[in-house]
Amino acid sequence: MIELERLMALALGELSGDELDQVELHVLSCSACARTLERLLQLGSAIRALLRAGKLRSFIAPAVVARLDALGLITRRYRVAPDQPMPCSVSSDDVYVLTELEADLTGVTRLDFFFGVQGGGQMCVSDVPFDASSGLVTFIERGEALRLLPSTRIELELHAVEGEGRRLLARYVMDHDAGRQ
């Protein structure tokens, strides 16, 4: 059995030349390695299928937004500026709702995200990915999850993590209307 790292590199297409030859030959000599490689490849196929079925939520990179758009999976989008309430809703046809939060991310190296509904508690998501140069923090949510929400005010915050503490970067408000499509 070779290192899992090398099988993952093979599954992800990271190998070439002699290293590719060595690992492929090893897989053809090792039943346990072949099983693991197949599992890794199955994971990739299953993740693609789940995403296309509208089952995942995630912060995402701009290039992924373009791909999801091309697949027709982003059916609604909101671009939200700080401190400006944004009316929002979801329909029975929505697969993914894309939200882009505008923020000045200059000099920010790490970002935490808080969300909650008005009058309720807040939840924190640590170390969310972002592209500082775009000035946007982008995430997708499943239409099927949003359809379960009642009409409510959703409050979002971005905090820059600096040393041991956090600095509030921006606050956002989205007014979800469960009855409007």
Binding site: C30, A63, D127
Partner: protein, 181 residues
């Protein structure tokens, strides 16, 4: 030489020495999942991978029976060469397959271990438990076929960091799915 390779080599030598249906069946049982994993990576779908496994094992048995394998004790190297040739010349092999299958019944599909389908509900839970940054990288990897450097550019990360995070995420998913090697 690893113990598995020694067993493979002994089986190949038995087949090369004369008609030995038991050795043929055992060699095919051992190589079937390995070639299928190889094919799954190269071809991207299960049916084509199974077809490839069948083609390659037919050709391997044919060559062993005819004494055309120069080093039967290194049979995995011969199988790898056969896999690559089959991929390069799939149409030609397809034409011969039907004609040959009845002569090499040990290579027929159906009697060997099939891959176990992934539990997608469980996978959803495992994805939910990934750190946000890792989930974004996994989605970028599988949905947009992005390389590490493309992801790094769009998430403001170094390519090396993306590679490490991607491997860490895959390892977490494998472990969460109960497939830890």
């Amino acid at each position: 030489m690893a113990p598995e390779e020694q067993i493979d080599g002994k089986l190949a030598l038995r087949i090369a020495a004369g008609r030995d249906p038991e050795a043929e069946a055992e060699l095919c049982r051992r190589f079937w999942p390995r070639v299928r994993a190889f094919g799954l990576r190269r071809l991207g779908n299960e049916q084509d991978a199974r077809d490839l496994a069948q083609q390659v094992l037919v050709i391997t048995l044919e060559a062993l029976r005819a004494g055309q394998v120069q080093e039967p004790e290194r049979i995995a190297a011969f199988v790898m060469g056969t896999c690559r040739n089959a991929l390069l010349d799939r149409y030609k092999v397809d034409r011969r397959r039907g004609e040959l299958l009845h002569q090499f019944s040990a290579a027929e599909a159906g009697s060997y271990e099939l891959s176990v389908p992934l539990d997608t509900r469980r996978l959803l839970g495992c994805l939910e438990h990934l750190p946000e940054r890792e989930r974004a990288i996994v989605i970028g990897t599988y949905v947009d076929e992005q390389s590490g450097s493309e992801i790094s550019g769009s998430l403001g990360m170094e390519p090396g960091s993306v590679r490490v995070a991607r491997h860490r995420a895959l390892k977490r998913l494998l472990e969460c799915m109960g497939g830890s090697p």
